[in-house]
């Protein structure tokens, strides 16, 4: 089962890279020109992230260097490790629903300090990639049409983040074991 799922990782990207241009060519889309046209936006997007990531990486780097991060993690470590959650990823659970740039910076910092192939880094990358910034989505979507009473939408979003956190840990256990 786990072996079969792991193949999804290996196949998804090559299949998309082959299927999308092929399908487009059959629909008579000039694939190469379209590729170049779209690719221009990628540069802009990467550059636009710089201020966000610099601001957040600075704060998170300082927080780690001061020893405050370790102090917080140390408190909850026994509890989390008893249930198989790598304690280093806990701050991510708090940051992820609130700030997209902050959680991205945290994951980047974690990958840098722990190494990209450690279990904690894989769990963190999975959490970051599998959900969106709940508060940001709520504000943009409801703000756009002037909804002031969001009713239960925030609770639903946070509940799904909570479930997603443990689902990410479980999925990494299933596929990678405690690497």
């Amino acid at each position: 089962m786990a072996d079969w799922i792991a193949r999804v990782s290996a196949w998804t990207i090559p299949m998309l890279i082959a299927f999308i241009p092929l399908y487009a060519a059959l629909r008579k889309v000039p694939v190469y020109e379209t590729f170049i046209d779209g690719a221009k936006d990628g540069f802009q997007t990467a550059i636009a992230i710089i201020p966000h990531l610099v601001g957040m990486m600075t704060a998170i780097g300082m927080f780690r260097a001061s020893g405050a991060l370790d102090a917080i993690i140390g408190v909850v470590r026994p509890l989390l490790e008893a249930i198989g959650v790598p304690s280093q990823v806990l701050p991510l659970a708090l940051l992820r629903p609130i700030t997209g740039a902050g959680s991205l910076a945290f994951v980047t910092d974690l990958i840098k300090t722990e190494g990209p192939d450690t279990f904690a880094a894989k769990v963190a990358a999975t959490i970051q990639g599998s959900t969106d910034t709940t508060l940001y989505v709520l504000t943009v979507y409801f703000g756009a049409v002037g909804i002031r009473n969001a009713r239960y939408a925030l609770k639903v979003g946070l509940f799904s983040d909570f479930v997603g956190f443990f689902a990410a840990v479980a999925a990494c256990w299933l596929l990678f074991g405690m690497g």
Binding site: P21, R27, T34, G42, Q128, S130, S160
Partner: protein, 220 residues
Amino acid sequence: MVNWIWLGMIVVSVFVGAANGRLNEVAEAAFGGAQTGVTVCLGLISILVFWMGLMKIAENAGLVRLLSRLMAPIVRRMFPDVPPDHPAMGYILSNMSANLLGLGNAATPMGIRAMQELQKLNRQPGVATPAMCTLLALNTASITLVPTTMIAIRMNFGAIHPADIVAPTLLATAVSTGAALLADRWYRHRSGPPRAAGKRIGNGPAASSPSAPASLGGGG
């Protein structure tokens, strides 16, 4: 909120650093963090340029429309109070298809158009309808096929197989989307007709986090 988190981290770092006698390390980390931030973003250029080129092909080939048609029968059941031929349904389907393909920049405008159409069906403007809450639940959980940003960052730091997080990400995103839909259903039945008083949210993006561009969100 983000303002306070950011300020809090910096101020706490300086005080805790002083108490631990690590002020030098804290100062170095500030500049080191800034440097890593820039390096990582420059490293993202390669993958983002490639992926957004590919996604432009997907968009122009009508893959969003194809996916929308495939998902229509399921999605209609998620929005029982939206008439199937209402324009809102079309935008909801486009929003979900674009999200699935990781077209963050296309998904957000579609989602906002969907909200505007749903607002026309809303008898109490200012209060979210059940359909709006369901659309929001789907977007906060955000099913994405390929977490491009995360793959790129792992690649930058020399991961052996940067893409091996695709499968766990798919599993986790499926579970959290399922949880979001179930919770949404539960609250929808429990709460009945909307009440006037309730939780208030900020008005417009300016009131909230200066969060990164939409494409940062789902890792896409």
